[in-house]
Symmetry: C2
Subunit: 323 residues, 2 copies
Amino acid sequence: MEEREDPQIIDPTDAVIRITASCICGSDLWPYRGLAPLPGPSQIGHEYVGIVEQTGAQVATVKPGDFVVGPFVASGDGCEICQAGFRSYCPNRVEMPTIGTQAEKARIPFADATLIATPGQPGAELIPSLLACSDVLGTGWFAAVSAQDGPDKSVAVVGDGAVGRAAKQLGADRIIAVSRHPERQKLALEFGATDVVAERGEDGAAHVKELTGGYGAHSTVEAVGTTESLRQAIHATRPGGNVGYVGVPVGAQLDPMELFASGVQLAGGVAPVRRFLPELIQLVWDRKINPDKVFDLTLPLDDAAEGYKAMDERQAIKVLLTT
Amino acid sequence: MEEREDPQIIDPTDAVIRITASCICGSDLWPYRGLAPLPGPSQIGHEYVGIVEQTGAQVATVKPGDFVVGPFVASGDGCEICQAGFRSYCPNRVEMPTIGTQAEKARIPFADATLIATPGQPGAELIPSLLACSDVLGTGWFAAVSAQDGPDKSVAVVGDGAVGRAAKQLGADRIIAVSRHPERQKLALEFGATDVVAERGEDGAAHVKELTGGYGAHSTVEAVGTTESLRQAIHATRPGGNVGYVGVPVGAQLDPMELFASGVQLAGGVAPVRRFLPELIQLVWDRKINPDKVFDLTLPLDDAAEGYKAMDERQAIKVLLTT
């Protein structure tokens, strides 16, 4: 933790927000562990909720005092990519890790198109669930949508507890959590999983097949991003079924012949969370979903280093930082 | 060419057909070139049209004398995979290369669910177009459907002339053929391509982007199956766009991080041609499409070896064999 100058409005489409809560993402551990090189001391963090302090001259949809939630990629909404719902790939996007939201304040580019104001000031008890919308829930939602999750389908979830929440909300009939960690299995069951598969690799895929009439799941969410988890996801899915992958596959390999032979369809990537934010915020606001369970440790921002340590050592699944 | 015993009905769901025409597929060149090992002397060929000679006791939808077209994978239609439209991945499927249709007669398993009778006896001029439905057109169609080709979209086609036909029929606004062979470029233009891109690899992808507002194609058909063609297809497609891949990626590599970074969605595999056959046969029957242009050499079955030689030496794109 160190003091930096307060962020300022740079472009007339910017807003500066006072951050109410941020959190530590699994992807933040890459630079923490020295596995993703940094150019030097850098701010970090990309998930956030907060209160608008200041807006640029062209900002019209949010105003100082509004409580806002934003996705981890800021973008406008005018280009063909944004219009098609893939704002996380907008050619003019700003990725929030380059700004760093594990901070007291942050500049949010393209504020009009990026931030969503909540219907009113949320009570403290809603903050964690709203924060979860910024990435983890939104990413899980995109994974489930990419996997074409829906009514009467079987859904396998490889690798994360929070994603099962989306699968359930989208109407899946059977939700199979593939996880070998007891605490994540527990979380998955709380989030609506109907079955847990604890075996690794091919044995895990075989178990999913066994639970789905021998065919494999209709839809599989891949939220890890390793060679093994990708293979497991593909092998756990039936021919013609869909894998929605959101785990960042750093250094992973994928044999296209194996994919071809499986008949499995592959969709996903960097989640365009903004597409889902209005719906997710409303679901949280109406108390229809409570993704706050994904946080199992809350610390003040000043103790962020302790939060990184806890996640690095697998003492915590996801750490919320309050400011 | 050698004499074999006539095929017989084995199962009550079989039919035996007299083959009117078959053809040589690019994939037949793998064993021809010694690149796909065979257990010993084997029949070969998987595309066919012909006249039903004999049916098993349980066959009800086709009868002796019917002119029929079938896909290159035989299957029933009762399991969940078949019901979902992915018969080419049915757990009980019979792949026609294991039977061999470059022959005078062939046994067709699961005849009821596999064969489609034409509305009447076709004239000789229709035979090549009907034969094209069996694999090359059906596969191209699946690729275009997998790439979510449709009205007002831009479609790039990497690697084959015949596939553009499907792209046009599905309503694409702009069809960009990526090919460096003058004769295939010509075929692509005849089949409805609006633009031709001749550059290889990244230069070709950049040219497609240039033709599509800098974004890349909405839909790209990948019909080659090499590491380079897969990369080119992904890079030619816009974020959120779709690659439909049907080229068999034998020995190819695919970097999942590159796919993730691109935001491109990947669908395809072994084409479930049977799903599209009724529609394709009707389009041919009504003279709305003429995929016969894909054949540029016709030989009697007795001269099949000459046909293989011509394709191996790139003297012919696709050889039709008459019996």
